[in-house]
Symmetry: C2
Amino acid sequence: MNCPQILENIQNHISLSTSEKKLFVSYLKVNDVSKKERILQQGDICKAIFFVESGSLRAYNFNDEGKDSTIMFAVQDWWITDMNAFVNQKESLLSIELIEDSRIVELRFSALEEIYQKIPKFERFFRILFQNAYVREQLRVLDNISYSTEDRYYRFVEKYPQVVQKVTQKQIASYLGVTPEFLSKVKNK
Amino acid sequence: MNCPQILENIQNHISLSTSEKKLFVSYLKVNDVSKKERILQQGDICKAIFFVESGSLRAYNFNDEGKDSTIMFAVQDWWITDMNAFVNQKESLLSIELIEDSRIVELRFSALEEIYQKIPKFERFFRILFQNAYVREQLRVLDNISYSTEDRYYRFVEKYPQVVQKVTQKQIASYLGVTPEFLSKVKNK
DNA sequence: GACTAGTCTTAAACTATGTTATTTTTTTAC
DNA sequence: GTAAAAAAATAACATAGTTTAAGACTAGTC
């Protein structure tokens, strides 16, 4: 296992020696997963965090009334999991499904705990990763509470053009929190 | 300067030696700030992150149409800043105002950079802080896109009873992203 | 190449939320 | 303690978003 892509992602923020790289990579598992498969099922314990080498995924919640709400999309070089369920090792609120055939790197909870101990620099890497994730979500909350649906749609398209190419309009609607019918109306008015 | 409260908050997650505590505390500045004052003004560079020793604050954005959107409240033992503006040292999208007279500990950007270098354990502390913040915001996004206003109001009240005691209904409405008139209707129906 | 299932569009009727304005209640400032 | 200011409640009307249902348009499967 070589994993140059995830190592490059990490080395954007911290630098690793050859032996550290080797150790880190030994904890990883690479999987080829097909379109429509799920790598996490709502209700299950979330045992891993995932890095997308290629392809695309969608994390969503399915509620009692049958409403599907997209929490995030992930494309190449993104990390994704149900972070709440992962860090507390409890039942997941989210499912994660494949939008297309993808190559996914898996890092398990217990492995990450060991990595933090053996290579403390990873605390820094994940500090930066979570810092960015927090900022992103906070900006999304601001979008949600202060912009109209129309504005939010166009802001989404501008911010994530790589995502827009891969997902359906129905999935974008579920990310924005509106019905596909209403999004269609907004776009075509 | 003694600062037992912020040290206790930190030592919930990492342990510090006496000399590390002393060094860390030397970077802090404690301010007593009065109700209605602002410790951060939208448009200004965000130079510090704040820890609330006592009192309460509100971070909000004021947009072109005059709409006030509350991004977060902070009460005793919470950290608050415009994280996007802070970590990138750029213009703030948010203002932070005092809800009541408060004692605020200030940690400046350049100080935090030095702390990360001198006491790498702080990478771990902030990794955990941001991890929790990310999880919180992600759950809030899910609330925003999948629940009704009524449900979100009661979920907010249940989750943050300490906040509810201190803020106006108008401020809660601006946190939920609805008008005060509508929140009043929802509550009293 | 035709069948199928899923997506997208459109529209009418309905519900949720916003706007404006007025009154009542609570808080703040002297 | 009183006057002024802000917050909260209420209501009539306007706009945003949902529901349901139907038809047009893909994309995937044999």
